[in-house]
């Protein structure tokens, strides 16, 4: 399909707050992006009209109870079927930060056997509390997450994280099995890494939140639902990068290839 025909739905709930930079990135990509309050989505929108759904970061409903939980359950209750259908059609669904938490709480991620009824993972309290800092993440996905296939495996992206609950965890009694599945299904997408690309091995602040196996982002086995804690939309332009005054100012930053790949994939696939 043509780029300017691509329609992106960015949903927001009370407390969503990384919506404008995400909207800006999509619009700069030349696609149609719409930011809609989720109550309005429930009442007046048809998910079928969109090609991509994006859940931005923030503190939906104050992150009370658990990050992303209230919004996730509300969505499940109000448009659960439609969302599931959207995912089953293979269309890209992306959640960043709070959006990732929402995708875990709704059961779409890790989604070992499709959407699960109860969450199969969690994003727990970070080991050092709330942190806003730049990290490096390496793309480790081997191809299942097709929407990111224009970003080569092994690419290191510098992006900021800003969260208090982002420590990826699996149930203790199923940890080994689940982790193995994540690898076997090629569900690993981003891992926190050092400057040379080697894994953070849990070391703070290279791994900023204590995430299991340095996990920064994963996808479902089908590869079309993607969640990550770091914020590519906040690294979209060159002037947002942390060292542009010494390394030089480019138009785009490390977040650009992320969005670029998602849009290229959508153009090709649909």
């Amino acid at each position: 399909m043509k780029r300017h025909d691509i329609k992106v739905l960015l949903m927001r709930a009370p407390g969503t707050n990384c919506d404008l930079e995400a909207l800006r990135a999509f619009r700069d990509m030349g696609v149609q992006a719409e930011l809609v309050q989720s109550q309005k989505v429930f009442k007046t929108k048809n998910l079928d009209d969109y090609n991509i759904i994006f859940f931005p970061g923030g503190f939906s409903y104050g992150d009370y109870v658990r990050s992303g939980a209230i919004w996730a359950k509300e969505m499940e209750y109000r448009i659960g079927k439609e969302l599931k259908a959207f995912v089953e059609e293979g269309k890209p669904v992306i959640g960043v930060c709070n959006g990732f938490q929402v995708l875990v709480e709704t059961g779409f991620l890790p989604g070992f056997k499709g959407k699960s009824i109860e969450p199969e993972a969690a994003l727990g309290n970070s080991t050092h509390g709330y942190q806003c800092r730049w990290i490096r993440m390496k793309k480790v996905n081997k191809g299942s997450c097709q929407m990111l296939n224009s970003v080569e495996e092994g690419t290191i992206l510098q992006t900021p994280v800003a969260h208090g609950e982002g420590r990826f965890i699996l149930p203790p009694d199923k940890l080994e099995q689940h982790l193995k599945k994540l690898y076997d299904n090629d569900q690993m997408v981003f891992r926190y890494c050092r400057e040379d690309g080697s894994p953070a091995s849990g070391e703070w602040p290279i791994n900023p939140n204590g995430a299991l196996d340095d996990i920064a982002g994963i996808c479902n086995p089908e590869g079309n639902v993607l969640g990550l804690m770091p914020h590519p939309e906040r690294a979209y332009y060159g002037h947002l990068m942390p060292t542009w005054t010494s390394t030089g100012l480019n138009k785009y930053g490390d977040g650009y290839p992320f969005f670029d790949s998602v849009i290229k994939f959508t153009e090709k696939k649909f």
């Binding site: 009370p14 407390g15 969503t16 707050n17 990384c18 404008l20 930079e21 800006r24 309050q37 109550q39 309005k40 923030g58 503190f59 409903y61 104050g62 992150d63 509390g129 709330y130 942190q131 806003c132 800092r133 730049w134 900021p160 800003a162 914020h231 939309e233 906040r234 979209y236 332009y237 002037h239 947002l240 942390p242 060292t243 005054t245 010494s246 100012l249």
Partner: protein, 790 residues
């Protein structure tokens, strides 16, 4: 007391007979109703009712109480001050506003008028900025106090129809290692306050999604009893969105959170008959913030302002809706009638006067023309929040309050806004601090590491990273620089998609100097704020003044206040930097004494092209390092003296004319892209600034200290650690050095060394190495103290 009788209404409503009351009776009435009014003010009110020949109601007296309070009316800054040299008629008028009026900058759009100061940015876009204090609430409940402080200042920005884009916070605590045994009863430990305040600011700012991009964190013994919390907010609006046009017939719309018993203070209306009713309801002494409520308000108000649906707006802060509604009516020469029973409540039972003065958070007041009312209410509803029309503006010049159809108050607005002027007295205390004498230490490298590890200089990463400074994707120069997280001088935002203009935000405060000399303390704060701004490329700077002071009822505190105000006038004027907004918090006294006089100066600058912004990290080996400005033996109040346990008396002064010239030249050099890195010299002096530039950039420095320009021959430790004002360090490439020197011509500057690949700070004097430290050791010293376990 028989002067106060309950009316025949079913709800709580009292009538007060003021006719022929004696002074003693007035005082008694004030006490019974829990009013903070002075006798002079009570007499003024009595005389007013005498003319009207009617009884006052509880609601009316509460309204006077709120409006006349220091918080709402700034009596100390607007009243008379008797000094040995004559009487000053209003500190604000005589110094601060006068400075602004005389500078008369064409780009000042609205100053001292509204909830926030507003200046031009570019084309039809304006920037609004406000800084507030929230000291007392934070001392009682650090998390809630700091959070609601930030929430309050964000509402100030919403209150000029602007959308918030950034926050600042400046915090002052006692030393974190303060002994628990020494803490007086009722004073909370600095560590408890520090953790609570920082989490409170973080939680509110992060949740509402406004980046906190600049601030300062200061530690001093004098803050142990009086914690200081400043919170600031910056917002953007378009000229045509700044609608101030309330007309008779417009609705009073109350939006946001529900009204509860929060923040109804010091009420001693506990007569026997009342206690029974009030027992069940406890009054929250502190407030719990709800950032998500304010996030929804923010979205709705943005839409309303873009669509020009309101005719006026104000935030609800101190004094509750009583202040917001009456002020609005008075400002437009109108009257207003309000039905208090229409206000949505969160507590089941509230007396009308409580509803009227409640300070519940997250509420805004809008004036809405009848034709837009429905649309406005719907916009709030679509954001999942409430808005209610509770009254109407009219032409009567009166505020008329009704409760279930019964008129419970009628106040003449003119009488409310012309309170009698307070008179304060200012007098110096005869105390003199002395300059210490001690031998020059021989291991200056060790001293440098100790200074880097002192709480005031050490990395504030633990604070800064608790705040989201990246949200909205506009932060071009971040509070902490690069992967080594060095201390940047100021934050730069690029807020507009279609313009390269940047906003530069910095702050300055030097409380320790204030213990020696409040005039030079204020002057230094102004210079520091401006210096930090200029160092990253800011210009066309406007200033905000925030005073945190002890009780104005003591002549010595007043004297210090007068001195600081004088400096604001004289130094601000010399720098051509108008004051556009400010705030005072007085009565900061504790069992440990008054707060150190603390003037926070916030500087708002612009940079025409953000891509010229300069950070403080060294860029490349081989480049030259210049020192701008003159070094003097000015160590009074310095970190270096403090390290030795002294205060001293040689407080840094400044030569404004020279400073203005060198700042102008620096700006020219930045615009010519000659400056690769720049760092201001402040706490810890030259040596600390050199170390910070080096370890942030990961590059070494080889410095010849003989090249440092000083007004006299200085001892080496004084040379390294003096805190003389108006100095900066600048990195310039070899090939640009000639051009740079030409631009700097006529100002005090010298080339003092070169950037090297060797990761060491190498300082030499008379051909001998005097400091030679590995950068890794320096950064460790700097990073460790505040990173240590809580």
């Amino acid at each position: 007391m028989n002067r106060i009788v309950r009316s025949s209404q079913a709800f709580e409503h009292y009538l007060i007979d003021l006719l022929n009351t004696s002074d003693a009776e007035l005082k008694e009435i004030g006490k019974t109703l829990g009013l903070g009014l002075s006798l002079q003010e009570l007499q003024y009110i009595r005389d007013h009712y005498l003319i009207k020949e009617k009884k006052a109601t509880d609601v009316e007296l509460q309204t006077y109480d709120q409006t006349f309070s220091e918080h709402c009316s700034h009596k100390t800054f607007k009243g008379y001050v008797k000094t040995p040299d004559g009487t000053i008629n209003g500190l604000l008028k005589t110094y601060i506003r006068k400075e602004t009026e005389e500078i008369n900058a064409p780009w000042c759009y609205s100053v001292f008028e509204d909830n926030a100061g507003i200046v031009d940015l570019v084309d039809d876009t304006l920037v609004a900025i406000k800084v507030e204090t929230h000291n007392h609430p934070s001392a009682i409940e650090p998390f809630g106090g700091a959070a609601t402080g930030l929430g309050g200042v964000i509402r100030d920005i919403l209150g000029v129809w602007a959308s918030p884009i950034a926050c600042t916070d400046v915090l002052c605590f006692g030393p974190l290692n303060y002994s628990y045994e020494k803490l007086p009863e009722g004073v909370k430990h600095p560590t408890y306050l520090f953790n609570g305040v920082v989490d409170g600011i973080g939680s509110y700012g992060n949740s509402i999604g406004i980046p906190t991009v600049n601030g300062a964190t200061v530690f001093d013994d004098d803050y142990t009893g009086n914690v200081v919390v400043y919170a600031g907010c910056v917002g953007l609006l378009k000229k045509d969105e700044y609608v101030k046009n309330v007309k008779s017939g417009d609705y009073v719309v109350l939006a946001g959170g529900r009204t509860g018993l929060d923040g109804i203070h010091g009420v001693t209306f506990a007569s026997a008959e009342l206690t029974k009713e009030s027992e069940a309801i406890s009054r929250p002494a502190v407030q719990v913030g709800n950032p998500i409520e304010e996030e929804k308000l923010k979205r709705a108000i943005k839409q309303i302002s873009e669509e020009h649906l309101g005719s006026g707006i104000t935030d609800i802060g101190g004094g509750g809706i009583s202040c917001g509604i009456c002020e609005t009516a008075d400002k437009y020469d109108l009257g207003v009638s309000v039905d208090l029973d229409k206000i949505p409540l969160k507590a089941a039972k509230m007396a009308p006067w409580e509803i009227w003065i409640s300070e519940s958070q997250e509420r805004m007041l809008l004036a809405v023309p009848p034709k837009n009312l429905e649309k406005v209410i719907k916009i709030f509803k679509d954001e999942q929040t409430e808005a209610t029309a509770i009254g109407k503006y009219d032409q009567t010049g009166l505020a008329k309050l009704n409760y279930h159809g019964v008129k419970i108050a009628e106040i003449e607005l003119k009488s409310l806004f012309n309170p009698p002027k307070t008179t304060r007295t200012a007098n110096k205390l005869a105390k003199k601090s002395v300059e210490p004498e001690f031998p020059e230490p021989n291991n200056l490298g060790l001293i440098l590491k100790k200074l880097l590890a002192s709480y005031n200089i050490a990395s504030k990463e633990k604070v800064v990273r608790r705040y989201d400074h990246e949200v909205k994707g506009q932060t071009v120069v971040k509070p902490l620089q690069g992967w080594n997280s060095g201390p940047n001088n100021a934050a730069v935002l690029k807020p507009l998609e279609k313009s390269d203009v940047g906003i530069v935000i910095s702050s300055g405060l030097n409380p320790r100097y204030g213990k020696i000399d409040p005039y030079w303390m204020a002057a230094s704060s102004i210079d520091e704020a401006i210096r930090n701004n200029v160092a990253v490329g800011g210009r066309r700077i406007s200033l905000l003044d925030n005073f945190t002071w002890g009780s104005p009822e003591y002549p010595d505190r007043m004297d210090a206040l007068v001195e600081a105000c004088k400096a604001c006038y004289e130094i601000g004027k010399a720098y051509n930097t108008p004051f556009i907004s400010g705030k005072d918090s007085l009565y900061n006294e504790s069992p440990l004494g008054p707060v150190a006089p603390t003037l926070l100066i916030t500087a708002l600058g612009i940079i025409p092209n953000y891509s010229n912004a300069v950070t403080m990290d060294l860029k490349k080996a081989g480049n030259k390092l210049y020192l701008i400005g003159e070094t003097k033996k000015e160590l009074g109040g310095s970190e270096y003296y403090n390290l030795h346990g002294y205060l001293g008396s040689s407080v840094p002064k400044l030569d404004a004319l020279k400073a203005v010239q060198s700042y102008q030249n620096i700006t020219d050099a930045i615009d010519s892209k000659l400056i690769l890195s720049c760092h201001d010299i402040s706490e810890g002096g030259l040596a600390v600034a050199l170390a910070e530039m080096a370890f942030t950039g990961g590059l070494g420095l080889n410095i010849n200290l003989n090249k440092v320009l000083a007004n006299e021959k200085l001892r080496l430790d004084f040379l390294l650690f003096s805190e003389s004002n108006s100095r900066m360090l600048v990195e310039v490439s070899e090939e640009n050095s000639v051009t740079f020197e030409k631009i700097m011509d006529g100002t005090t500057y010298s080339s003092i060394g070169v950037v090297t690949k060797i990761p060491r700070l190498d300082l030499n004097y008379d051909g001998k190495t005097v400091v030679d430290e590995a950068l890794s050791e320096l950064i460790k010293a700097w990073k460790t103290p505040l990173e240590a376990p809580r």
